[in-house]
């Protein structure tokens, strides 16, 4: 059984008209075209080709307030509008399905269980920017989602939803499923484009931005899976329906991947602005901290976002502005929960090892800095920490932050800086005593 056994709130979505991404994710047939169409699938695509101009599609998505769900939160419709109208070059759409931010496991579920929803969203976005060949870049390790996506694309061609002269409109659209080779950096849009061109996955200097010169130096839009999956619903129900959900500046719903020390880890679709505490403690979602332990901290938006402490949780809602106001970020919506037994040095070592491994090596501050950070944090964890190590960590962090071409350097630094700030005593104890205050190893049971 290679179908992801992840818990979702599909039962809630089935009876709640606002929750649209997860409405049918527990239907074992939803990945098939026939079932997708029965559930009003491809109606938005038909509506678009039957009478909407590309600009009308862009305006509708702009008005909806949809923001990128991959991490940056940039307004989706506005991004589309940056594609030059009069360019003689072909335009490309790339769906970013290189999901690898530690803690994030939402796009996988959408591709695996509702692949036609992703295809339909991509098709509408492609039409909006005048693209006739679109790509989905899926991380190579995702064996099952890749197979599901390939089957769905073949079915969509057969059903006339992709290919030549779709629905008799005269519009041609091809779709290519492209798989990666195992590199977190390829989730960064310019590295993704390099990788798709057959190069090493290294970021590009911007400007030019991909919307002007992206794939093969042509105007290109890169959108996250979840952002695109929301598009058919926006077109079908209208921007007004979408922007009524969530908060004023963070419209709509979002899937949160809840992992770590909670009783019910899973993927939950909620309206933006949902209280973080409720997601962790409500029996319908996380159902509280595992084994009756106390909460130590939370990473709210994936491994590259700053930590929150329990007292900060009270004011933290799951939307872009609220998390920013408490000093963190919504990121990709990956909420990682740590209990009181978690050693902060051990945790940070896991994270910095990841970023050091995944740094593409192009920018010196990131390539060298993540290596230094890993070595210093490793020696603290090993009991050989030295006086001045914390200051060295802070110094190296400060020399990476804002000094790299892509956000990977910042991503590596932000959780470390917040961990040193919130749990400085613990770091000092670790350095002075050569061991941690808490038991660092979690049993496998």
């Amino acid at each position: 059984m290679f179908y992801s056994p992840v818990i979702t709130n599909a039962a809630e979505a089935a009876t709640n008209d606002k929750l649209h991404l997860f409405k049918y994710v527990e239907d074992p047939e939803q990945h098939k075209l026939e079932t997708y169409v029965k559930h009003c699938g491809y109606q938005a695509w038909q509506k678009v080709l039957a009478g909407m101009k590309p600009d009308e599609v862009i305006d509708e998505v702009k008005r909806s307030g949809l923001r990128g769900r991959g991490g940056a939160g940039f307004p989706t419709g506005m991004k589309w509008s940056f594609v030059p109208k009069n360019s003689p070059k072909p335009r490309y759409l790339c769906c970013n399905a290189d999901e690898s931010e530690p803690g994030t496991c939402k796009d996988r579920v959408l591709m695996e269980r509702d692949p036609h929803g992703v295809i339909e969203g991509m098709a509408i976005a492609a039409y909006a920017i005048g693209c006739h060949r679109m790509f989905i870049y899926i991380r190579g390790e995702f064996g099952h989602p890749i197979r599901r996506m390939e089957e769905a694309v073949a079915e969509a061609y057969k059903g006339g939803h992709l290919g030549k002269n779709i629905y008799g409109s005269g519009y041609d659209l091809d779709m290519v499923v492209h798989t990666g080779g195992g590199a977190y950096i390829c989730g960064e849009e310019t590295a993704l484009l390099n990788s798709l061109e057959g190069e090493r996955g290294m970021s590009r200097i911007r400007p030019p931005f991909p919307a002007i010169e992206g794939l093969y130096a042509c105007p290109t839009i890169v959108n996250n899976v979840e952002s695109l999956a929301a598009v058919p619903h926006i077109i079908r129900h209208g921007a007004d329906w979408y922007k009524k959900m969530g908060t004023e500046k963070s419209a709509g719903t979002k899937i949160f991947s809840l992992s770590g020390h909670v009783n019910r880890p899973g993927n939950y679709e909620v309206e933006l602005g949902f209280p973080l505490k409720k997601l962790i403690y409500d029996p319908a979602y996380g159902a509280g901290i595992k084994d009756g332990k106390k909460l130590k901290g939370v990473i709210p938006g994936g491994a590259s976002t700053p930590f929150l402490t329990p007292d900060m949780l009270e004011k933290a809602n799951l939307d872009y502005e609220s998390l920013q106001s408490v000093g963190s970020m919504l990121g990709s919506g990956a909420v990682i929960v740590f209990n009181e037994d978690t050693c902060i040095v051990w945790t940070i070592l896991k994270l910095i090892h990841f970023f050091r491994h995944e740094s593409c090596g192009k920018c010196t501050p990131c390539r060298e800095g993540t290596g230094w950070l890993e070595q210093v944090i490793h020696r603290i964890e090993d009991g050989h920490g030295r006086q001045g190590d914390l200051e060295m960590i802070e110094n190296v962090c400060g020399n990476i932050l804002g000094r790299t071409i892509c956000p990977l350097g910042d991503a590596a630094v932000m959780p470390i800086q917040s961990a040193v700030k919130h749990w400085r005593d613990e770091w000092v104890y670790h350095i002075e005593h050569g061991k941690c205050q808490v038991k660092p190893h979690f049993p496998f049971k």
Partner: protein, 158 residues
């Protein structure tokens, strides 16, 4: 030729999907890896001939990514996620458990060439941790009993 007729055909089918031939490099490496379980210099040359791009461009791309090892590994490649969400639920202990069950250390292959055990970065199964990937499939929400059962099944199948 080390690549089979089938692999060559699959690679050739990829080339016209892209405006530039070079884009077929990653798909070609993936197809070769699926056939062989490794991709080395000889294979880079074969791929270069098929998609008609210089050998060096294949080598340059292949060595950047983690999924194209240059040497063969065991029949079953066990990749355990050791990243944070899995680690919080016992990934380090899971690796220790597998080392004991297989009688090898992380990074090694069993003498019968059946299993290779490595640990890898996040595989996107954070809410179903701990997990491992064996060849192309994910095994999630692992417990010692489940691991025993999976290993027994693979041994029986081999």
């Amino acid at each position: 030729m080390i690549l089979t007729q089938e692999s060559v055909k699959l690679i050739k089918e990829k080339v016209p999907l892209y405006p530039r031939r070079k884009s077929a490099i990653l798909p070609a490496l993936t197809i070769a890896y699926h056939q062989l379980g490794y991709v080395d210099d000889d294979i880079y040359r074969e791929i270069a001939d098929i998609i008609k791009v210089p050998y060096v461009e294949i080598a340059e791309a292949a060595t950047f990514y983690t999924m194209f090892p240059k040497a063969p590994r065991g029949k079953y490649l066990i990749q355990v996620c050791h990243n944070i969400s899995c680690a919080l639920l016992g990934a380090d202990s899971l690796i220790g458990y597998l080392e004991k069950r297989l009688g090898i250390a992380k990074g090694e292959t069993t003498p019968d060439k059946l299993f290779t055990l490595i640990s890898v970065e996040c595989l996107g199964s954070c809410a179903t941790a701990p997990m491992m990937q064996i060849n192309h499939d994910f095994y999630e929400n692992l417990t010692p009993q489940k691991v025993d059962q999976i290993l027994d099944e693979l041994r029986a199948e081999a």
